[in-house]
């Protein structure tokens, strides 16, 4: 394996600590950006009192969350209740391990990278359910049950969507998938159809798995108070949000890696330039996701299930078949 610092263990440690701390910093300012963005969309100004343009707001928020009282309900299952927020953040961070930020800049370039992040994504339901059950609150429990139903349903289209780049590139290694798209042959653009369709499917299924609007049914503050996080206070409450935002950034990054060529872009193959392209693309996709988030209303549970089983699942199967046919067809053309 390609390592930057001596031994693989040191490489993983340095990169892991670096990427995670960078991402946590980025996440808090992503939240600031989202509040500004949402404000503009709703003809408001957004945060403006703490620092210039409200730039110190994330720090003030974090401090506020830290000094708030930490309440555990008497009837709660203490172990599950306290473990859930921690796990929510950890699980969201897991996928970062296989994400190539630039050529060679990846914590662990696994042969089964795609499988790894699918597995990590499938785990997001565990902390959600722990919180729902552990809180011993009817709203939290309802939220947890909704999360489970949603996760069963949306895992399938997510796997199908991720399968399309795997078929097109012939590898499950994320660096190979990026390499297969080098020189602007991004899967979202070429071949026309399967790549873009799978990209849309991937984003929808990931949003549903991460419980983001318009799929935030487990939280549903208009029906379930705050769903799974009803009983949480202070930083534990904050950690669920941290996990959710980290998850949405990771989804954007994975979308860029699988469908938008990852760190591929015009210019020489220098580490800094590759990193710049990657960050630019991820920012663009994140803004697009925010746009979706603040434009649509929450779906009802039955609408969510209809969308998944009647539309996303068949189209996912169709896209997988189409990309397989494409690969077969190009191979036939190449051999003649």
């Amino acid at each position: 394996m390609n390592v930057l610092f001596g031994s693989p263990a040191l490489h993983a440690l340095v990169l892991g600590v670096g990427i995670v701390s960078a991402l946590l910093g980025v996440t808090s300012y992503f939240i600031w950006f989202e509040r500004k963005f949402a404000g503009r969309m709703q003809s408001r100004i957004g945060p403006k009192h703490v620092g210039p343009y409200g730039l110190l707001q994330p720090i003030a928020d974090a401090f506020k969350l830290l000094i708030k009282a930490d309440i555990t309900p008497d009837t709660a299952d203490r172990a599950l209740f306290n473990l859930a927020p921690l796990l929510a953040v950890c699980v969201a961070l897991l996928s970062l391990a296989v994400l190539p930020l630039a050529s060679g800049l990846v914590i662990a370039d696994l042969d089964v990278g795609v499988l790894f992040f699918l597995a990590a994504g499938a785990l997001t339901v565990v902390p959600t359910w722990m919180a729902g059950w552990g809180s011993n609150n009817k709203y939290a429990l309802l939220g947890g049950m909704r999360a489970i139903a949603q996760s069963v349903a949306y895992g399938v289209p997510l796997v199908l969507a991720a399968l399309v780049p795997v078929i097109l590139s012939g590898s499950m290694k994320l660096s190979d998938i990026v390499a297969a798209q080098a020189g602007g042959h991004w899967f979202a653009l070429w071949p026309p159809g399967p790549g873009l369709g799978a990209g849309v499917l991937f984003v929808l299924a990931s949003l549903a798995e991460g419980n983001r609007i318009p799929f935030d049914i487990p939280e549903a503050e208009s029906e379930l108070v705050s769903g799974i996080s009803t009983e949480y206070t202070g930083m534990k409450f904050g950690m669920f949000y941290l996990g959710e935002y980290v998850h949405s950034l990771v989804v954007a990054a994975l979308f860029v890696t699988l469908f938008l060529g990852g760190y591929d872009g015009p210019g020489p193959d220098v580490l800094a330039l590759q990193l710049l392209w990657f960050v630019l693309k991820v920012s663009l996709v994140s803004v697009l996701l925010l746009w979706v988030r603040w434009s649509y209303v929450r779906l009802r549970s039955d609408q969510l299930m209809t969308l998944c089983w009647k539309y996303l699942l068949p189209s996912g199967l169709l896209l997988v078949a189409a990309s397989a046919v494409w690969v077969w067809w190009t191979e036939q053309g190449g051999s003649r």
Binding site: L80, V112, L115, A119, A122, V125, W133, M145, A149, V152
Partner: protein, 184 residues
């Protein structure tokens, strides 16, 4: 180091598996199951099977566990939690003989098929040189050489599913009017 992790994880897997059976609360039982899945995945990783470890987490911790949770939390199983004693009648009579015969035959067929397909040592390299960690050799092995055992195992799983269905239906009865319409 790898040995230490292996023994630690093996012990954890056994303890967690015992916890699954021993826990009084079905939710705790599921949590123990999750622990056992992870211990097993760690053992796969230590042994160098990345693919198997990732699949273990994706399929078991992701799908199977969620399915169990789904069944426990969304279906009304409150009356089924108590098993006072093991009924000895289950192990007597003609039905029991048939049960053992069929189960034994199924197991025997699977074992025979698996053994018959695997060639004697030295006949041919049964596994690719670099192990079954890479996807291509894994797929090649699974869908050519070991196709029959692979399919037989899935038939066994199907038989289990049918058996569970039959048992669950019989337990409930066709029309359960005694419990005031709570048969669902």
């Amino acid at each position: 180091m790898a040995n230490l992790i292996f023994y630690l994880m093996a012990a954890l897997a056994v303890v967690a598996a015992l916890g699954v059976v021993a826990a009084r609360n079905p939710i705790m039982s599921i949590l123990a199951l999750l622990g056992s899945f992870f211990a097993l995945a760690a053992i796969y990783l230590v042994s160098g099977f990345q693919t198997l470890a990732a699949l273990q987490i994706l399929v078991y911790a992701g799908a199977i566990l969620v399915l169990f949770l789904f069944v426990i939390m969304l279906l009304n199983l409150a009356n089924e939690t108590k098993l006072e004693r093991i009924d000895l009648a289950m192990f007597h009579g003609r039905k029991a003989v048939w049960t053992f015969l069929i189960a034994g035959a199924l197991l025997g067929i699977s074992a025979f098929a698996a053994l018959a397909i695997v060639p004697a040592a030295g006949d041919a390299p049964a596994l690719p040189e670099r192990g079954i960690d890479e996807l291509q050799p894994l797929a090649d092995a699974m869908f050519s050489r070991y196709l029959l055992p692979f399919e037989l195992v899935s038939v066994l799983l199907l038989a289990t599913a049918v058996a569970v269905l039959v048992l669950a239906k019989r337990n409930r009865g066709p029309l359960n009017l005694d419990q005031g319409g709570e048969s669902t």
